[in-house]
Amino acid sequence: MIKYTFTKFTKWSVLKKLIFQEIEDLIIGSIGIVAFMSFLIGGVVAIQTALAIENPLLPGNLIGFATRQSVILEFAPTLISIIMAGKVGSYITSSIGTMRVTEQIDALEVMGINSFNYLIFPKIISLLLYPFLITLAMFLGILGGYIASVYAGFSTSFDFIQGIQLDFKVFHIIYTYIKTILFAFVLATIPSYHGFFMKGGALEVGKASNISFVWTSSVIIIINFIVTQLLLA
């Protein structure tokens, strides 16, 4: 499938429109849920960290530090990607699957259009902007943590900001973006595969979306483990 996606390209003027359409559907359309989720997750991480470290001997900037580490290393890239496997992944599988059962993919093939390139390539290219979403998730996650801990009285503004600056390693950001790019590829390809090669009718489209979510989120978790082992261990 990947091989055919990158061969016999669709006319550029058409492909360009498809890429912009996919950016709107997959990236811009996900900003709301990503912002909402990451802001609240950041807040919860900060509150739980604060509740777990009531010992007065521990430094006050620990809440900010723990929130930053949790959000940047795991919650923003991995948890948001699993949420995206549900939102974007099931959208991709069901839209391609519906095209399959209603013979729209056959129509493309009969016209001599490489349906792999026409349908999957724009999704892969648009998801190259996925790191933008994860950057937003990191920023809003830390902001959520800041607001939750400062306004609920768990930490001072100074301590929290000092915490998020403490022992900052640029490599952690690089590690996160490496993961994000791999997750973006998984988010574009596995759901496309399940939509493209599904058989049956409307009921099977639902089943394919379900299976696609299970596979996409499982592969994300496995890649997360491997990349973490390779880059951080």
Binding site: K8, T10, K11, S13, V14, T98, M99, T102, E103, Q104, D106, A107, E109, V110, M111, G112, I113
Partner: protein, 252 residues
């Protein structure tokens, strides 16, 4: 003209198409008829290259259809129009965008030239005031007309229709049949239609191929099919009470 010579196709060792040879003639509506499961759709998908054949050969105007010859297939596909059973219109596009789509993919026309051509075919298939509607907003008969318009917009040499009047009321079905026949004559194209609708057989069957369990057992015209003594064909053609009565009247 499309010729098929001794083609066979199996799925998981079950033969769906068995040694079929036939000629689909230019300027005529060639019908493939048979009961559900007789292999009509598989035969059509083999002709279109959507399924690889196991044996035999397919010739488009003496040009051998080889799936590994990508440039030949690519050129040939631009000369093929297809009307799918469920119309297969792109849900995300309006009617006019659906019709323009093949032009956008394969021609160098400007936007205004494409719209002019699309309006020509829209007029030809008798559609009105639907340009900016989406497929979900139009009736089944209109969808078929849009599918026909999309199929002919590039002036194809070959037109394939898979059950073009399924899901339509009898009156609309006859209108769609007639439209396909008129377009076949007007554009002088080779039209192949899959159907099990006896009205279509009677109305537009210039040439008919009858399949039973993947084998071609009869070939002829709509006039010949009414007078044949072949039991299998008679069982199929006169399966409805209406046609049985027609036959009785004919005998009288």
């Amino acid at each position: 003209m499309i010729s098929v010579k001794n083609i066979s196709k199996s799925f998981e060792n079950i033969k769906i198409i068995d040694d079929i040879s036939a000629v689909f003639e230019k300027g005529k509506t060639n019908l493939i008829i048979g009961q559900s499961g007789s292999g009509k759709t598989v035969l059509m998908k083999c002709l279109l290259g959507l399924f690889d054949i196991d044996e035999g050969e397919i010739l488009y105007d003496s040009q051998k259809f080889k799936k590994d010859n990508i440039s030949m297939i690519s050129d040939l596909r631009k000369q093929i129009g297809m009307v799918f059973q469920g119309s297969a219109l792109f849900d995300s596009m309006s009617v006019i965008e659906n019709i323009i789509f093949p032009l956008r993919m394969f021609s160098n026309k400007t936007d205004s030239e494409m719209i002019i051509r699309a309006r020509e075919v829209i007029k030809r298939v008798d559609l009105k005031d639907v340009d900016h509607k989406f497929p979900s907003e139009i009736s089944g008969g209109m969808k078929k007309r849009v599918a026909i318009a999309r199929a002919i917009v590039l002036n194809p040499k070959y037109l394939f229709c898979d059950e073009p009047n399924s899901g339509l009321d009898p009156k609309t079905a006859i209108i769609i049949d007639k439209l396909i026949q008129e377009i076949t004559i007007e554009y002088d194209i080779t039209t192949v239609i899959n159907t099990h609708d006896m009205n279509s057989v009677m109305e537009i069957g210039d040439k008919i191929i009858f399949l039973v369990e993947g084998e071609k057992i009869w070939e002829g015209t709509n006039k010949e099919i009414l007078n044949t003594d072949d039991k299998m064909i008679n069982d199929f053609v006169y399966s409805s009470e209406l046609f049985k009565k027609v036959k009785l009247i004919q005998k009288k």
